[in-house]
């Protein structure tokens, strides 16, 4: 496998991402509105719960919103795949002197990397707000978030190639987004998920968003959040990354042959 060719695929996806100026603006507005309006007001509403856990809900929520942003921008690669299929760009990509595996792996890495580039500035602002508990923890958390972003991109590619209609993909992603975000600890601590409905907490325990957001909070010192050892968090995200990146690669590779994506 040629690293140079792999990089060319990644570079193309990064360049394509830079064209989505309005997506950047939209997600930026969403982030500011979530933090400066929703976060501030809900923080007031759940004061008593925050006191029980000895946390600032505002800080807890800001960390969660960062992970939701990383998740949604990583999912965006699926829309690109549909655009390309609709406009016949797929055929062009297949004629390039790049192996199928390089193409697919490059897209998965490119998808994760570009979401990191987008979230990078937000991450810096969030770190300024929350602080860092230990630089080593932060490094571990950032590495975990990379695994998370690549895994989500792989998942998005897998779903996109499994579905033949852009509309169905859009709907499926919307529903998945609603469930995966709400059944995780991005917006509320595990204790309250458990109190509300034990099955919700059981699902949240296996949700990659739970691992990603709790690892990030662990690194930033947002107290009362992590329910598992950081090793389990990294392992969970690694399994998620490995499953979707490599399963996604194999799946995508097979679907490419014979025009079965059409």
């Amino acid at each position: 496998m040629g690293l140079k060719k792999l990089w060319l695929v990644i570079e193309r996806d990064l360049r394509m991402f830079m064209q989505y100026k309005f997506l950047f603006i939209m997600r930026g507005i969403w982030f500011v509105a979530q933090v400066a309006l929703f976060g501030l007001v809900v923080n007031q509403m759940v004061q008593s719960a925050a006191e029980v856990l000895d946390i600032s809900y505002f800080n807890y929520y800001v960390a969660g919103v960062t992970i939701i942003t990383l998740y949604s921008t990583s999912m965006f690669i699926g829309y690109d795949i549909f655009e390309e299929a609709e406009h016949g760009v797929f055929e062009y990509l297949l004629t390039l002197p790049i192996s199928r595996r390089e193409l697919v792996l490059g897209r998965s890495i490119g998808g994760g990397l570009r979401s990191f580039i987008y979230v990078g500035p937000l991450l810096v602002i969030v770190l300024l707000i929350l602080g860092v508990s230990n630089p080593l923890y932060l490094l571990v958390a950032i590495a975990s978030l990379f695994l998370f972003a690549f895994g989500v991109s792989g998942m998005s590619i897998t779903i996109a190639v499994a579905m033949k209609s852009g509309d169905k993909y859009d709907i499926f992603i919307g529903v998945l987004d609603a469930l995966i975000v709400r059944l995780s600890t991005t917006m509320y601590p595990m204790l309250y998920l458990q109190q509300a409905m034990p099955p919700y907490a059981a699902i949240a325990n296996f949700n990659p968003l739970t691992y990603a957001s709790d690892m990030f909070r662990w690194a930033t010192g947002v107290g009362g959040s992590i329910q598992f050892s950081p090793f389990v968090g990294v392992l969970g995200l690694f399994i998620f990354f490995f499953s979707f990146t490599f399963v996604g690669v194999v799946f995508y590779e097979r679907r490419l042959e014979g025009g079965s994506w059409q």
Binding site: F22, V41, M45, D170, G174, L179, M187
Partner: protein, 257 residues
Amino acid sequence: MKVKAILHVIEYDFKNFFRYRWFIIGLLAMNLADLFISAIVFTQMTSIVNYFQFFAPGLAVVGLFASAFMIGREINMEVRREIHHYLLSLPMTRAELAIGRVLAGGLRGMLYMTPLLITNFILLRFPTPPELLLILLTLLLLAIGISGISISIAVSTTSFEKFVTARSVVYYMLFFCSSVFYPISVIQILETKGLGFLVIFAEVNPLTNGSDMIRSFLLPASDGYVFSPLMLLNVAIFSAMFASLAIFAYMKILQRH
């Protein structure tokens, strides 16, 4: 002005709406996830209100907004693909076409919102017939106003991305500065952060008035929500303003294209 022509336009938009049935089912699933997951968890976290009961009426307004706004997405697509030339060639006046589109947007919002409103009635309580009429009238006016905003934005730009961005700005401003997600008494905290203008905006926001009006009929009196005719007046003014703007913009801007 012929009512039959307006009805034809409404029928055309309803047929388009049902073409997106999977989209509607997906949207409904997302709304129900908000109620049956997020609202239940927040109920455990807050002692200010029973959040599940509080949020249920807000959810009907969220659904109403999302579906009434969909008409703008379609009209923006028509402008981009120049389908509006065909619509303008139909044997009806520009005013009939424009009124039909605004009304269709609102009625589609009402149709989508109905299962969410019924869920409210089942979970909270069934209103008396006069209360039900007032709720439906207010929500219809609200839906027409939202459809008006959506159409005004849709015909103002040929770029889908700009339309989506504008929709997001409107959505976040109207929802986060309203009592849809949290009580107005909690929003008042923004005053202490130097954001007093947002509190004023939240108080006059038609989404606040729409959701608080449903709460006044469906929640126990002890929760402190009391119906005031001013709520209806607020929504009616909003509706008249944006429906007129949309009709005017649709007629004038499409002709210019």
